[in-house]
Structure formats: C-alpha cells, structure tokens
Amino acid sequence: MTDIAIRVALAKGSFHLDVDLTVPASGLTAVFGPSGAGKTTLLRCIAGLESAARGLVRIGAAIWQDASTFVPPHRRAAGLVFQDTRLFAHLSVAANLDYGRRRIPADRPVPGRDDVIDLLGLGALLERRTSGLSGGEAQRVAIGRALLASPDFLLLDEPLAAVDAARKGEILPFVERLHRSAAIPMLLVSHDVEDVARLADRVVLLDAGRVRGQGAPTAMLATSAPDAAWAVTLPASVVPGGRTGTSLRVAARDVAVFLDPPGPSSALAVLPAAVRAVDGAAEGQALLTLDANGVRLLALVRQDVLERHGLGLGSIVHAVIHHATPA
C-alpha cells in the first residue's frame, strides 16, 4: 500500500468535516477551496490534533488512526506548518529551528541545517527573538522548523501567504526539489492558483467540509480557478534555441492557435498541431488539448472566437507559444 487514505468526520460547532480521500503516498497534493472550507481542520485531523475526529488516517503502510488506533501527534510527526506560524516565543529563531530537529529519532537522517537556513534567508535572524520578526520572516522560520524536523508527511497550511514573490520564487522550487528527491508526501493548502498549478501533482478540491473533486491540477482547477492554472511541461527542444535535456513550462494562456502559419513574430515557437480535445473552462473560455507531433500542449482560448473561425475537435492548426519558463 503506497497510497494515503484519509477518511475523517468531525463536527466543530455548526461546521462538519466529512472527508474521504485517497491520494498516492508521494508527490505534492494541493488542497484548494474557499475560506472556511475546512482545509486547516483537515490538516489538523491528519496531524492528530483533533482527538474528536473519527475515521481512518493511513500513510502508506502506517496506520495513524482507525477505529482502534489513535497515534498521538508527536508520534505521527506530520510536519504541520500552521497558518499562524506558532513560533515559540520563549526561544530564539535558532532554537525554534532546532526544536524538531533535536527530537528526530536516532534511526532517521537529520537534515542539514545550513541549506534550509540559507534557502529561507534566515541567516541574519538566528539570534533574534521571535517577537520582532516580520510576517514573512515568521512564516519562513515556521517552514524551516517543520522541514528540519524531518517529517514523514509535510502539511503546509498557506505557508507562503506573507512571503514576497521574489522569495517565494526561491522557496517554492526548493520545496519542489525536496518533495521530488526525499519522496516525502506533502499536502499544501494555498489560495494561490499559480503556486498550486506550478507545484502540485494533484489537486483536491474542498468545499463546505467535503471533497468536491480530485485530480490533475489542470483538470481540477478548471472548475474553480482563474485561467492561470493550466500548463504543460515540454522538452525545451521544441522551441528554437531551447537547450536539449531541459524542460519548459508553458501555460495554456500563453498558447494561441492560428489557422494559417503566421509570419515572423515575437512568439517563441510555432508548432503545427491537431486539436485533440475541447473542454469548457470558466468565463466563456475553452481549453484545447493539442497534439503537436507527439507533444501535448494546452491552449486557453475564447469560446466565441473558436466558433467564429470554425475551430474545433480535429482541426489542424498552428500552435503559437508566446511565453515559457524553465521548469
């Protein structure tokens, strides 16, 4: 069993959480949903902080909770990064970072401290008390503290809400690398569609305490999120000048389709392609799945424009890629 099964029921006042969820025990699962949907509550149930929750929590072969078992939170060590950071006010930043790390059982590898400190830009803060930290600084310390505890399952509750875009741009790839190399499964709560689309291997949609859907980010976000979400990863070689062996991420909104081959332009690449699928998307848009000589592409276009030019399933087009970022 290499999947994660979570079936929890919990009532909090008038709010009822009733989640039934199975996800692979690897990669990053994004939990997405409106404010008050129960995302934080779900993470708390998984971490073992809601002792009133009933149900099953199984991480691979390890049963954290079922009808007869309730593993206490400190033995789950589900590195939960709280939405409100919860740094220890009586400890320095350094001692906060080391709190979990010093408690890692002897048979587990202890993560390197300096990498995390460098990455999160905490070097200058180590001797500081937590009380004077700015919002973003506190969030970074909280992330670092959780990472350094070497968790079996990382639960991130909007960990980057107060972190600026530039820093986010550094932290996210690290988290990504982390979850790919260490194979720690992760659950990320985020309101930021960009982050979710970029990082997540799959998305779980939560609303009013229930799972409303689950699947690949592209498919799932279509029903709930703005258009920034869909993207594909391509071999860089499809773009003139792209270095072989590397990949590019192309967002669906940055792909347009033309009937005739366009002339010289600011576009990165023009690829002949066939329209393999047309899905509805929000606000009168359509998501085209294209096959460009074996390379899958997504294009987000206006439904009405499509109709006006008689474009549809099976059409042969020229896919124009306007932007791409290294993946």
């Binding site: 971490a47 073992g48 902080l49 206490p72 939170p73 400190h74 033995r75 789950r76 060590a77 589900a78 590195g79 939960l80 709280f82 409100d84 919860r86 740094l87 220890f88 006010a89 009586h90 400890l91 709190y99 979990g100 408690r103 890692i104 059982p105 008390r129 009380s131 503290r145 959780a146 505890a149």
Partner: protein, 229 residues
C-alpha cells in the same frame, strides 16, 4: 542587640529560610501538576477542586493549625499513616512544619501557575507536538518556560507567605528552638514580651533580606520576560 543575635538569635532566621526554601520546592512540586490539570481539564467538577484549593485561606491560620494538629497528630489520619513509616511524629517536627506551610500556601502557588498555563493556551503545545515532542517533553520545553512568569509569582508568594506564616506554624510546630522556632514566632515573642528592640531589629533584617531576594528574583524575571513578550 548584637549580643541578642549572637546568643542563638540567628537560628530562627536560618531555620525560617530553610523552611521557606523547602516549602517552596514542595509547593512547586505539588502545585505545578495540580495547576496543569486544572488549566486543562474540561471536567465540570473542577470548579469544586479550584474552590477547595483556595479554602485554607478562609480559615484563620491558628484554626487551620488546630485542625492540622488533629490531622497530623497520633490519632489523625495522616499522623497514623506516617507512623507506619517513621517512629518520629509529624507534629512538632520540621516535616510537620513543611506540611502545614504547604497546605496553607498552596492557593498562592496553584493560582498563578494555573493562570499562566491557561494564558499559554493550546497553540504552542500543538506546535510542539507536531515537532515530535511528547506530552512530558512539551510540558517541560514549552508550557513551563512560557508560563515562567506564573512560576516566579508562585515561588515569590509561597516563599514570602512562608516567611510570614505564623499561626499555623506556631500551632503545629511547638516553638522548639532550632527545630520549629521560626523567625516570625521569635519576633512575635519579643513583641509580646515588650522587647521591641529585638523585634524591630529582627523585623528589619527579615524585611531587608526579603526585599533583596524579591528584587533579585523580579529583576531576573524581568530580563527573561523582556525578550519574550
């Protein structure tokens, strides 16, 4: 005055400080788990326990002393139990004084610690739990340091109250020089016998000493607290 102190005059002070120190240690050892439990239980009956803890306060010390005398005495429940393990009686002994002081000062120790634990709340303890800290570990490494201010208040109150305690100690201790004759009794005796000179001097020493200890403790507490808000 000098001669008075020299003639065994210091022994009550030394005994008192010893009693206060031992009592504070016992109070903290006993009061901390009680305060922790009171701060965290959701049992509705806890208000009764809270009220019971405060009860020793409402009776005059001498009267509490009187009941303790019965309870700790050879015919009392506690006294009888103690007789099984020791051939020394509890009353008129240092051990008896400690028990009496602990009973009498318990509310002053439980209350501030309980309030401090309640102020700490669950949030930091949950944070510690997901960082692999077990219940005892997070109690020691998170709850206690965050409640430090309460502990300082508790220790100061327990210490000061034991120094000044008198009625209970007088009743249970029996005013035996070197064993149960604490400074408050010594001062009291000298007031009673109109030896105001000794009483003033002894009171001044006690006040000065206590003041020094308190300033020290509060000063250190301040330093700690300034950092953590």
């Amino acid at each position: 005055m000098i001669e008075t102190f020299a003639a065994g005059g210091w022994s009550p002070l030394v005994l008192t400080l010893k009693l206060a120190a031992v009592t504070v240690v016992c109070l903290l050892a006993l009061g901390t788990p009680l305060a922790w439990w009171l701060a965290r239980t959701r049992w509705r009956g806890r208000v009764a326990i809270e009220a019971a803890v405060a009860l020793p306060l409402v009776l005059p010390p001498t009267v509490i002393g009187f009941y303790l005398l019965i309870l700790l005495g050879p015919n009392g429940a506690v006294g009888r139990a103690f007789a099984l393990v020791s051939d020394q009686g509890l009353t008129f002994s240092f051990a008896g004084l400690v028990i009496a002081s602990v009973v009498y000062s318990l509310p002053f120790v439980v209350q501030p610690i309980q309030n401090a634990f309640e102020s700490v709340g669950r949030a930091p303890l949950e944070a510690a739990a997901v960082l692999r800290a077990g219940p005892w570990d997070r109690f020691v490494s998170v709850a206690v340091p965050l409640a430090l201010r309460g502990f300082v208040t508790a220790a100061v109150m327990g210490f000061a109250h034991t120094l000044g305690e008198f009625g209970v100690v007088l009743m249970v201790g029996g005013n035996i020089p070197g064993e149960t004759r604490v400074i408050s009794i010594a001062i009291y005796d000298h007031v009673e016998t109109l030896d105001y000179g000794y009483a003033h001097a002894m009171a001044a020493v006690l006040v000065a000493l206590s003041f020094a200890i308190l300033v020290l403790v509060y000063g250190i507490n301040r330093r700690w607290a300034r950092a953590a808000p």
